[in-house]
């Protein structure tokens, strides 16, 4: 799920980079997680975006989305293994998974359904030399709560093309929480989220905080084969096998 939040985050950025600069977009961002008195080392994520594909990669995982081939590849570079899914099939499977729970599974896998309150604080702040406004989001569910702070860069004029609209829509479906937040705060569709701090107080486990920040945005020639499978990568049949 978290991976898809990333997708969303970078797709929003892709509108900016692709439509304003008319070249492959390159975004470098940092992400950290704080949990149980442990702040993880910051992970640097590189994203390349072209008209029909994007690639998100860090040391442990590469995700390549190919709208032209209707494929998503997840690659573990250290093991040179990959798992392939068709985008349409993946969407179908996800919607089927939301069916009725059998008696053997009731009471497990609690999924909070948040009621959101979004406030534009109108507070101006600069994030990496870009003017932003801070928006706070408070979500209350029966046994959990979530607060999100988003620093939006406003007044970024760009046009959303159809390909990316489709991808954006697809990515929103994977993250119901953010979909709902953005449907409430529709202005977000015309903004660039430079920084997001998401704090979740889960039903049982302690608070977990994710912090993501864009450090660099540019247009550049992508490295050769960035949207292709690595050479001699071995295909596996399941995500479990990929993560083994």
């Amino acid at each position: 799920m978290k991976v898809f939040k990333f997708f969303f985050f970078f797709i929003i950025l892709s509108f900016f980079t692709l439509t304003t600069l008319k070249a492959d977009g390159h975004i470098s961002s940092q992400r950290s997680r704080s949990y149980m008195a442990n702040k993880s080392q910051e992970i640097i994520v590189e994203t390349w975006i072209s008209e029909k594909a994007f690639c998100i990669r860090n040391i442990a995982m590469i995700i390549i989305y190919r709208a032209d081939l209707n494929k998503i590849w997840r690659i573990v570079p250290l093991k040179n293994k990959y798992y392939e899914e068709e985008i349409n099939a993946f969407e179908k499977k996800d919607s089927e998974a939301k069916g009725e729970t059998s008696i053997h599974k009731i009471g497990y896998n609690y999924q909070p359904v948040f009621d959101w309150v979004v406030k534009d604080t109108s507070a101006a702040e600069r994030i990496n030399n870009i003017d932003c406004r801070r928006v706070t989001v408070q979500g209350e569910a029966d046994f959990a709560q979530k607060s999100i702070e988003i620093w939006f860069a406003k007044n970024m004029k760009f046009t959303i093309n159809d390909v990316y609209k489709k991808m954006l829509s697809y990515l929103f479906i994977k993250d119901d929480d953010m979909k709902k937040v953005f449907n409430i705060y529709k202005e977000a569709f015309n903004c660039l989220p430079m920084k997001i701090i998401e704090t979740t107080d889960n039903a049982i486990s302690p608070k977990i905080i994710y912090e993501t920040e864009i450090k660099k945005i540019e247009t550049a020639d992508p490295p050769a084969g960035v949207y292709e499978l690595p050479k001699e990568a071995v295909k596996v049949n399941s995500l479990e096998e990929l993560n083994k």
């Binding site: 008195a37 009731i106 009471g107 497990y108 609690y110 009621d115 046994f143 039903a203 049982i204």
Partner: protein
Amino acid sequence: MKTSNIFIKIAFFSILFFVTVSAQKTSDNVYKTQLKLLEETWNVLDQVSAKAWPGWTGYTDVPFLFRFANGVQMLVGHPNPPEGFVLNEGFKIRDKKVYLNRNKEIQMEMKPPISGGGGPIPYGNYNNKSVLVVDLSVSGNKVGGDENSPSGDVKTPRYESENQILINLHELFHCYQRLIYKWRYGNLQYNTDANYSTYAEIEGIALERAYLEKDDNKAKEYLKDFIVARELKRKSMAIAEQNQESEEEIMEGGAVHAEIRACELLKESYKPVIAKEDDSYFNNFINVDSLIAGKLKMLRNARKFTMDARNKSYSFGAFQAVLLNRFTPGWQEQFYQKGFFFDQLIKDYLKLTDDEKKIIEKRLKTNYDYAGICQKHSELIDKRDNAYKLVAGRKGITVVVNFKNTFEFPSPQPSKDYYRLGIISVFPEGFGKLNMEEIEMTSTGSPVTLEQLYHFKWVDTESKLQNDCYKITYDKKEGDDIYCDAVVTTGGFILKAPKIQIVERAGLVKIIILSKVKV
């Protein structure tokens, strides 16, 4: 008049100071006792670990985090204590430093005996890696008494600190397991059905019979019964769930097996490093037979329980391992490293044919009172499912009481039957009463659930608006939504609590307990 007021104030604060200091002193003794018990755990392992599980070392390297019910946290042997922990020079054990975090301390006296449970968690980091610690939530325990008391009204066995030492040992074994085994299938999340519960009980009886049987050939026959009952039990389980169950057994059952082996070895020889003066509830493991018998009792209780699958893994796994000790010596060699399961090794040892299995299936029906066991579980499963339908069918405004800030799991004392599904407890006729420090919660008898360990949930089917769901009286209000010394009355319960927050959203009222004692 003013003089007398000052005098009263001085007297009041003197008493408060005395009570506070006295409470802290008692609590300090409780912390020291936990350290002594940890020291004794290491001492026990120095004497038994190599025989209990070949290759088991490194147990003193695992930091311990004690979370006391009064909010104090004590960290032992952590290479890089997280913010808030302060070194306490007086509390050193062996070569380990001890740190206390009092940032969330509340004025609550911790009286012995206390005990704790928990498990390994990543906590803090060192050299850019998270640190694995044993995390124990520690709170008061009943002293208990003799089970055979003449009055016959004392049901809780007398508390012995040996139990805490075995808990420490159990968790340390989990830490060792992590070094030699990687979880492959995850926790078992499976609600039982009548078929499962019936054959699970037969499995448990077969394990006990095999364990108690002196004749090896007869014991082996009981083991065969166990294997066939297991195959029949698993008809309603997915392959992944079957693997999860077997994996839970090697993890939890493996740790209980380590406890049993430790007890067996301590019976042969043992030299303690702590004494009665360090902890009056410590008895030099003189009652080691009763500790082993306690594990058999655990097996008997677990197998009878209709609505739980996962907790069976502790004793079911342990007794499979104990029987492997008897029938296949040397089985522990590379056991975790090669990814074996207990039941798999037993199957390999028995080499049952399909024809044999058919014969055994028939004898399970007669040798184990199949009909009686099945009827008992079927009735309870039906009641459970009906109770769930009852609460799931209630539509209206949801009222939740959240106990997460208390550091304790609420455990009510229901006077009527209740049922479990996953981590939901369903109380179709109310939950009776709950007392936790200065919190008191009384059920009205309306259907309520306890979900996700910390949250009571009651659905108001009549009120139209959130604030019609409850009435509140209080001593003081802070800000818009925090109430001190509050009494909340709803159609499902009456809650008295020292400090709460009430958050309202469409269709939802959340009552969050902020403190279990007056601040």
